[in-house]
Every structure is written in structure tokens, then in C-alpha cells.
Amino acid sequence: MILYVLRRLVAGLVLAVLVTMITFALLSTSFDDVASSIVGSGATPDLVEAQKAQLGLDRPLFTQYLDWLSHAIRGDLGLSYFTSEPVRSAIAARLGVTLSIVLAALLVTVVISVVLGVLAATRGGAVDRIAQGVSMTGYLVPNLLIAIALVYVLAIELHWFPATGYTPLSEDPVRWVTTITIPVVALMMSGVASLTAQIRGAMIGELRKDYVRTLRTRGIPTRSIVLRHALRGAAGPALTVLSLEFIQMLGGALIIEQVFALPGFGQYAFNASLQGDIPIIMGISLFGVLLVVGVNLVVDLVNGWLNPKARILS
């Protein structure tokens, strides 16, 4: 098991190196623009070249990347071209906001989807129709529209929640909850839609399997058959969907942060990209990949714990 985790970690690091390398290679096509925008108006070709040399952007691409990588390994992601603040601490400061809403959305998604999916699979009737309705809404309406509609109704019309802004958890837990509630709801809709449908389908498939009948004939209560056996069997495919949902939400958070003016990762990335602030872009790519790798590892471990066959194959 330890060996397995180590192997996955190494694979994750290789992935991080590859993604940052590709990002860097793609970014290299815009070095001239970056340099000229730093120099500002009245940039002559000479000044731009001088600026590039000062930033080290004139060196061979691979050398530059290795230089970045060797610093990154030591935890140094460089300084912003425009504000000169250290990239690592700047990202870390904003990561909390993004992770708050993404992880909260993920958690709520799991709870709602499991309850709704299991009920829809085993009860049918009204619950099944509600589940289908929720799934359809989540699929049909883009996140953006949901977010705006929620702000309009809950914040602007009803004043139940603040429309924008963010209060850190450490400052005021209650306010933290109210500031992230609408963003979380908006972010999780599509996740709930696909995960509920997935769990419902997998549960139905699982409940039709032969072993469920055999468990029934041993006098094992229905509750245990559904929750202990069938749900566990249905969890594997649901976890795969969940890890994809996490990636989706990380992207979706960018838009949501903009709507609610949350000072997160997304806005920061967006501004940096508009300016061409290469150290920040690279730092964000690295954090993005590491987050995904981390979540995938957790998902795989949970899957291995639930499903002994996956344990053997991996």
C-alpha cells in the first residue's frame, strides 16, 4: 500500500513537471508582448530586448525552464513582474478562498447526490422525479446563469445573504458561511446533476445483481443491503465522476469568483494572464496540477479501500 502511494506520488510529480513544461513552452510565444507591456508605451525594440534580457527571457527556453524548476523545487516561485510580490505567498493567500468554495461545494455535492441518488434508485416515484428534475436543471442551465439568478433572488431581492465579498473562516465563521453559501450552491449544481445520475444508475445496476438476492434470502435487513453492500459497490464509478467534478469545479470557481467578487485564485490568475505575468502563471499552473494530483490520489485511495479488486490491480 505504501509502495502504491509512493508510485502514485511520483507519477503525480512527473505530471506536474510535464504540464508546467508544456505551459512554459506555449507561453514562450508571448515573451515579446510581455516585455513590451512591462516597458509600457513608447517601447522601442531595443528597450524590449533589454527588458527581456533583464528578466532572463532571452536565454534558451530549456535553461529558463530548468532554472524555474530548480527554484520551484526549493519552494521559490519567483516574484511577480508587475507588483514584485513573491508568487508563492500571493497564491497561498488566495488559495484559501478558492479551496473554501470548491471543497465545500464538493462536500455538499457528495452528500446531496448520495442521498438523492440512493433514494431515487430504491424508492422511485416522487423522489425519482425530484432527482431527475435536479439533474436536468444542473445540466441545462449554465453555472453562470444559476449564480446570477441566485444573487438576484437571495441577495438583492431577499437580502438573505451578502451579494459579494468574502470573510475568512478564521475571522468570523458565521459570516464565512454566509459569504460562501451562494457561490457554493452555484458551483455545485452541475456536479450534483451528474453525480446523482451516476449514483442512481450504479445503484440500480448494483441492486439488480445476483448477490443482492442472495443477501436477502439470508434474512439480512434491507437497510444493510442498500447502504452497506449496494452503495459500496456503486461507489467506484461515482468516485471517478467525483474526481472529474473536482477538476470541473476548479475551473468553474474562476467564473463564480468573478460574479461574487471573491478574492480567490481565479481572479488572480485571470489578471495575471491578461498582463502576461509569467511567474504567476507558472505558479498557478503548478498549484492547479498539484491540487488535481492530490485529489486524484485521495479518490484512488478511497476506491482501493472500498473495492478490494481495485486494490489488487493497482
Binding site: L145, G219, I220, T240, L250, L254, I284
Partner: protein
């Protein structure tokens, strides 16, 4: 690896479903006709078509360009200045911008979906059809692509794309391709294992032709469905990015319009409403159309499967008086029906009557579809939830079982009635150790401590002839052989010394040598516990080996019941005689020699005869 595993599993159940559907003599309806009669499909398709046409023909509807601004028209009301829906805060024609945004969306959808399809389908076919080495490479590359959060990458690459939405959609198409790749790869892997592909290869069909004829036809449906969703998400992402402000301000798009409308929400809420509505209509139509396509091409979504005692339609049990008190199990005039698509009930068991005494073995024999397994499931109360018991009575030790709730049946099952299934592997939960499953059953039947239950299970495993009980106890089902698994299931069934054991083809899935051992074990256990056994089988050899009495079933009815010796020597019913005659004779091996060169003469002789 895990996803692949689940995919094949999923495929297997699907295959099973088609098989079951095949059993019903079906009316054939082409998917296209199904689509045309589905109002959801027709409405969403018409809406989409209308919207796209509106965009294409926009010059006919407006005389203002989408970017023409007029200071007089700032926030103008609807219908003024020749602006059908009024002007926005820069004095541009909202209607013209709306139509231009449709075109932006359509182009985004086309680029995103076609890139994703081109890459995903090509590599899905390659990765699925060719060997493991090729697949290893494609797999790795696509999981790499899948790992990166799409929207973040699109934003990070802003300096590269310069915000041009077409370039952005190109990259987004690449980011969407892993989904299509996995879909196609799984489908192809599934088809590749189908025997008809092997048969095509043996028939001398070249790979190209097999791919085109047998593989593509399977891939086509799901890919069409996925395309609708691809187009939808391309449009959603493009508007999301435009909302953030990515891209040139001269390209009208829903996202940009929504963003402007959002800023202007308090003064002119309609400016926000129009683009939202249009965007909503387009994505919703795409998703609804996708769902209709799925229904038409793959069949609707599966129905919920409730765990419950079967529904019973007859108010009164047939007649209490006629039942003789004798017999441990008495089944009287039992009829089971299933609803057909037209809503009527179709009987699969029609009036089965049988009785069984303690310590006796009754063989229930018949061909597939005769209703023998349905009868057994009815006694156990585990018929599928769609099944309806239309009449009859089932009594165990004088107590009526029909009409009991699932909870009440739980008390009967395990303690009084037990079950040994046909397929040993699929009847064990793959996610629990053998021991854990057996302990749960033992404790459900008779409450005891976990430790006592463990001791009891180990003793049982030893009793059913498992060589190393402790090791098997800690094993997962996939770690033991089929014969061992069947012993485990028998141990689980007899754990609480049941009065009646229902064995449904308990040896059919086993090798003949293992079958003999399992039959010996059942015989011994029956004597030891003085159980009654209801043995469902199609194999007359098994009947001859273990049964005292036999009931022969044909098309939901019992045609003959009798003592085993009598039945084999003097069968009364014509159907029984036909079945017995079909048994391949033990003592008459094939006598005619090979027909090598005597082909013509043979045919000639045949003519002469």
C-alpha cells in the same frame, strides 16, 4: 485500470439487458421514428434549428451592425430607434447583438465539438482496437490532458491565444477530447470481445472492414449523443469566458452581453434577461435533444429497483380449507405475471401447485422459460419488483408467506427458508470477505456476538469441505475458485439449520467433477439437518442423482409430478417423454465413420433411400 474495469462491467450488464429484451418478441421501431414521435426531441430540435437560422439570416432582420453605436440609443426602450429590443448602455442594438452572439455560439460549438470528436474518435478507435502497447500510450496522453482544469488552462494561455474565441475553442476541443476518447475506447473494447467480431475475423474480413461494419456501428449512437453535450458545454464555456472579459470586445457574445447587463442590472434588467434567455434556450435544447437521442438510441433510463416483497393482486388467498395440513411447503394455484410495455399483465407462471415434506427432495425440472426459477423465487419472496403474484398461496409449515412484508419475510428467510444460487461468483458481494458476508447472515438470522458468529462460520466452512477455513474466511470472493464459492454459499444457506432449502440450478455453472462433490455435500447436509430441498434444474442426471420426487414444468404449468423412479420408467405426459427422449444416450456413441472421400456416394445413397 479501475475505470476500465467498471466500464466492462457496465457493458456486461447492458449486454444482459439486451439479451432480456430480445426474449420478448419485439415490435421493431427505428430510432429515427422514435425520435420523430418524441415531442421533447421534436421541440428541442425545432428550437435549435430556428435559433441557428435566426443567426445565419441576421442581415435580413436588422439594418444595424451589432457594433454600431449611437449615442441617442443608450439604454433606449424596446422598439425605439428602430431597435427591436432597444439599445444597450453603449447605444448598440440589443437585437442585432443577440443575433450576432448566436453565430459566435454556433461557431464555438462547431469548433469545440468537431475538434473533440476528431481527436477522441480517432484515438478511441486506435486505442481500443489495437494492442495493449498502443493503448498504453494513448491512455497516458489522454489522462494527462484530462488532469488539467480546463477553464484555468484557457485563462493561463490567454497570452498565447490573445483571447480570440476561435483559438480558445480549439484548445477547449482538445481538452474535451479525453471524454470522447474514453467513451469510444470502452465501446470498442467491449465490441472487440464480442464473439461476432471474432467470427468476422474468421470469415476473412480485413480489419478495415470489421472496424467500419461492426465497430463503428456500435460507436455511432453514443457519439451522436455525446456531440449534443459537447456542443452545449462549448457554448457554456465560451460564454463563461466572455463573461469574464476574455476576448475582443468587438466580438458580440452572450457572455459579454450578460456581463454588461449584470453591471446594469438595477437600471435595465431586460438587458440582462435577453442574452440569458437565449443562452438558456440554446443549451437547454441541446441537453434535451441529447437526452432524447439517448432514449431513442439506447433505451430510456433504467427504472428504480425497489427491494420489497412482490406485489400481490388477489385479495383473498384461494381457499383455506382445501389445503391439506400435511407437508412442510405447500404451493397452491400460484400465478406470477409481469407487466408488458402495453400495460397488460403477462403470466409466466400459471397455477402451480406442489407440496414438499420435511426431509424430502423435490426436483423442479423444465427448459428455459418454463417458470421454474420464478416459482422458486416466489417461495423465497425475492421476485423482481415488477413481478405481480396474481393468485395462489404459499405456505411454509402452515403459515401463509404471500402477503408478508419484506420485513416479516426477513424473519422467515435465513432461519426457515434458505437459498443456494446457480452462479457462485456473482452471488457473493465482491467487496466483502467471505467471512464478513457469512457472519452478517448468521447474526441476522440468530443474534449472537461477533466472536461467536466467527466461530460458527469457521465450523460451517469446515463442515462444507473447505480445506483451510481460516484462509477462505479472510479471502475475497475473486480469490477463491467457483467450486469453493459454491461451498461457501451452501455454508451460508445452512448456517441456521433451515427447514427448507431452495437450490436453483446449484451445479449448472460448475465442472462435472465439482458438480458430483457438491451434490454429495447437499445430500449429506440434507440427511444431517432433515431439510426439505426444492431443487430447480434442467439436468435429468442431477434429478436421478439426488431427487425423491419430480415435478416437470412447461410454459408456466406443472405437467406431471411423480416419484423419481416412476417418472424415469413410465412417464405419463407427452412433454416428459419428449424431454427424456432428448437425453443423449449414454451407451450409443456415434457409429458411422468419417465421410472423407465418400461424399458423392453418400449423397447418392441418401437419394436412393
Amino acid at each position: 485500470m479501475t475505470t476500465e474495469h467498471h466500464a466492462t462491467e457496465h457493458h456486461a450488464t447492458e449486454h444482459h439487458a439486451t439479451e432480456r429484451r430480445a426474449a420478448e418478441p419485439g415490435r421493431r421501431r427505428s430510432p429515427l421514428r422514435k425520435l420523430l414521435t418524441d415531442p421533447q426531441a421534436v421541440i428541442s430540435a425545432v428550437l435549435l434549428l430556428a435559433v441557428v437560422l435566426l443567426g445565419l439570416l441576421s442581415p435580413l432582420f436588422t439594418d444595424h451592425g451589432p457594433n454600431d453605436a449611437s449615442l441617442d440609443a443608450v439604454n433606449a426602450g424596446a422598439g425605439t430607434h428602430g431597435y427591436l429590443l432597444g439599445g444597450d448602455e453603449s447605444g448598440r442594438d440589443i437585437f442585432a447583438r443577440l443575433l450576432a452572439s448566436i453565430n459566435t455560439s454556433v461557431v464555438s460549438a462547431l469548433i469545440g465539438a468537431s475538434i473533440a470528436l476528431a481527436i477522441g474518435v480517432t484515438f478511441g478507435l486506435v486505442g481500443g482496437y489495437f494492442g495493449r502497447r498502443v493503448r498504453g500510450v494513448t491512455e497516458w496522453v489522454f489522462s494527462l490532458v484530462m488532469t488539467f482544469p480546463g477553464l484555468l488552462l484557457l485563462i493561463v494561455l490567454l497570452p498565447v491565444t490573445d483571447g480570440d474565441y476561435r483559438a480558445t475553442m480549439l484548445i477547449f476541443g482538445v481538452l474535451l477530447s479525453p471524454g470522447i476518447y474514453r467513451l469510444v475506447r470502452n465501446l470498442v473494447l467491449g465490441v472487440k470481445n464480442e464473439l461476432y467480431v471474432d467470427a468476422a475475423r474468421v470469415s476473412g474480413l480485413p480489419d478495415r472492414r470489421i472496424l467500419r461494419r461492426h465497430v463503428l456501428s456500435v460507436v455511432r449512437g453514443p457519439v451522436i449523443i455525446a456531440t449534443a453535450f459537447l456542443a452545449g458545454s462549448s457554448i457554456a464555456v465560451q460564454s463563461g469566458l466572455a463573461f469574464l472579459g476574455v476576448g475582443s470586445s468587438s466580438v458580440p457574445s452572450f457572455g459579454a452581453m450578460i456581463s454588461e447587463g449584470f453591471a446594469n442590472l438595477y437600471e435595465e434588467p431586460l438587458q440582462f434577461l435577453w442574452p440569458s434567455l437565449m443562452l438558456g434556450i440554446i443549451t437547454a435544447s441541446l441537453v434535451l435533444l441529447g437526452n432524447s437521442l439517448r432514449d431513442a438510441l439506447e433505451g430510456g433510463r433504467p427504472k428504480p429497483s425497489r427491494i420489497a416483497a412482490p406485489e400481490r393482486r388477489s385479495a383473498t388467498p384461494s381457499s383455506d380449507t382445501s389445503v391439506s395440513a400435511a407437508g412442510l411447503l405447500t404451493v397452491e394455484d400460484l400465478a406470477i405475471a409481469y407487466p408488458t410495455p402495453s400495460g397488460e399483465l403477462k403470466e409466466v407462471v400459471s397455477g402451480v401447485t406442489l407440496s414438499l415434506e420435511a426431509g424430502q427432495t423435490l426436483g423442479l425440472v423444465g427448459e428455459s422459460g418454463s417458470g421454474k426459477t420464478q416459482t422458486a423465487f416466489a417461495v423465497l419472496g425475492v421476485l423482481p419488483s415488477e413481478a405481480v403474484v396474481t393468485r395462489g398461496s404459499i405456505r411454509l409449515d402452515g403459515h401463509e408467506l404471500l402477503g408478508l412484508s419484506e420485513g416479516e419475510l426477513c424473519g422467515v428467510r435465513g432461519t426457515s427458508i434458505a437459498y443456494v444460487p446457480q452462479e457462485p461468483m456473482s452471488n457473493l458481494d465482491p467487496n466483502f470477505t467471505v467471512g464478513a458476508q457469512l457472519v452478517e447472515g448468521v447474526r441476522a438470522a440468530s443474534p449472537m456476538s461477533r466472536r461467536d458468529a466467527r466461530e460458527r462460520v469457521l465450523a460451517l466452512l469446515d463442515r462444507v469441505g473447505i480445506p483451510d477455513p481460516k484462509r477462505t474466511y479472510a479471502s475475497y470472493p475473486h480469490q477463491i475458485s467457483g467450486g469453493m464459492a459454491q461451498r461457501v454459499l451452501i455454508a451460508g444457506a445452512v448456517a441456521s439449520r433451515p427447514l427448507l432449502l431452495i437450490a436453483d440450478e446449484p451445479t449448472t455453472a460448475l465442472d462435472v467433477t465439482v458438480q458430483a462433490e457438491i451434490l454429495d455435500l447437499l445430500r449429506d447436509l440434507q440427511k444431517e439437518l432433515n431439510m426439505a430441498v426444492l431443487l430447480v434444474t434442467h439436468n435429468f442426471g442431477v434429478v436421478a442423482d439426488i431427487c425423491d420426487r419430480v415435478a416437470v414444468m412447461q410454459q408456466g404449468r406443472i405437467v406431471e409430478t411423480g416419484d423419481v423412479l416412476e417418472l424415469f420408467t413410465t412417464p405419463r405426459h407427452a412433454y416428459t417423454r419428449m424431454l427424456l427422449d432428448s437425453i443423449l444416450d449414454e451407451h450409443a456413441p456415434r457409429t458411422d465413420g468419417p465421410t472423407a472421400d465418400g461424399l458423392e456416394t453418400d449423397a447418392f445413397e441418401k437419394e436412393a433411400r
